[in-house]
Amino acid sequence: MIELKKAHIGYSEGILHCQDIQLECGNVYILVGKNGIGKSTLLKTISKQINLISGQILIDGKEVQNVSTNELPKLLSFVPVHFPQMDYVRSREFISAGRAPYTNALGRITEEDSQEIEHAISALGIESLSERFTSELSDGEKQLVAIAKSIAQKTPIILLDEPTAFLDYSNKKKVLSILKETAAVMNKCIVLSAHDIDLCLEFSSNFLVVNADSKELQLQQKPSRLGIISAAFNES
């Protein structure tokens, strides 16, 4: 569970703010808003990559600022917009990096770790990709591998920065349905930013909308397409 309490988010001056919002496990939240309004910044602030200006962000009741570097990766995983460019890393190896928070100082993979990795692979049905180099995968396949890594990381929260950005229509649908299923089956709180409002409405009824004028973040449950667009893009 993520709680945002009167949070002001941004770099030097607050660009995005909110009243109290609670994000529950079992749901997928779609973060929408204009370009440059601070969606990525919000996700990075929740994942402690950027400091909060004021207010509080709590993860499972713990303030993010106070969670240690070792502890955070067990609570939250983050899928960035771009898949890292790497030579000679096989998908299975990439997914196994999700186990890093649990392995010892030398990174030894235990029986339990291997099981989690296999579980993540089979959950996403990407057995056929697991022995291939990530650099040879298509964008859609990369996104699935990145999500599998997050699942192997076994965190209650998964944040994804525009996971559908570079995908074709069928891959967008595939990724969104996998995320929806993951949230429901594994009881995770998944937050993703996206621009495909129409498509996302098919998969989730929970929207985090950044108001174009007030820059306020609001949780809209069961919103209408029009409601989202008028708030986020100042259009009717």
């Binding site: 955070l72 790497m86 000679y88 096989r90 190896e93 196994s96 990096a97 999700g98 030398l106």
Partner: protein, 332 residues
Amino acid sequence: MIISQRHKWMIFIFLLLLPIAAMVHFMSGHLDISFSNLINSLFNFDETNTNHLIAREVRIPRMFTAIIAGAGLSVAGLLMQTLFNNPLAGPYVLGINSGASLFVAFSIMTGIPFLSSDLGIITNALIGAMVFGLIISLFSEVVRSQISLLLIGIMLGSFTGAIVSMLEVSSDASELKVFTLWSLGSLSRIEFGQIPLISLVFVVGIVGSLFLIKPLNLLILGQDQARLLGLNYKRTRFIIIAITAILIGLITAFCGPIAFVGLAVPNLVRIMLKSQHHGLLIVSCAFIGGIFVLLCDALIQAMENYMLIPINVLTSIIGAPIVVLLILRKLR
């Protein structure tokens, strides 16, 4: 990260090739010295026997130095490339060698006895490598572009080059000579008696780097992902630079600057193994680096009668084209 059967075979082959390369190196010497002399010079040393003396005091230290220098530079290069997420990084390109050179120049040319003793030179080379490693890593915080970082490294190199020239102008002839000689690079400066101390420092560097396997494997995913997976980036960076400094400092102090090994070997190793498992990479870099310098030096010895090639020159002649090929591969 996964070690496949193929990887195990390759490591086994490297393990076999190293002693073969060492023997080729031993036999490429100018004089005809038999293996029995080599063995006897170790266990049954007779100082009055010229063959024993040459085997023990000239060839063995040179062979040893070639292995240490090749292995150390390659591992240090690998660490730099992973830390800065840049396949063209290397101690030489990033100016870390220059840092060591600058401090060694200070120690030789100030003429202060402690500073110009063996230990003084090692310490200075180590501190210099460390300081410049930290400088370049501070720059890496600001510039995210790979090319900019390399340019800054090159600038650091030219800058120190200029300071070293200034020192040269104001130092007296004999100090200058020692420094000039040092800067040519040589594999013959180590004495038999120094081998244990140098091995110790080398082992500290290599074993230290083996403890970095997990952070290095995470760094492959990029700095941000590595942090999100629990990596303490600043501490890791400091340790990586410290270990690089130990290896570079040691080698620079005894052999002078040797170019391109640290840049070319890790790239070659990655292509051969097709893996980013740093346990595999470190071990393979150590072996291939050692084999590479042994063979380069064997070639130098074999051609000694026809021409004089400093080791630094030969490694550049062979290394530079490899690096160009790598760049072309990347661009394609």
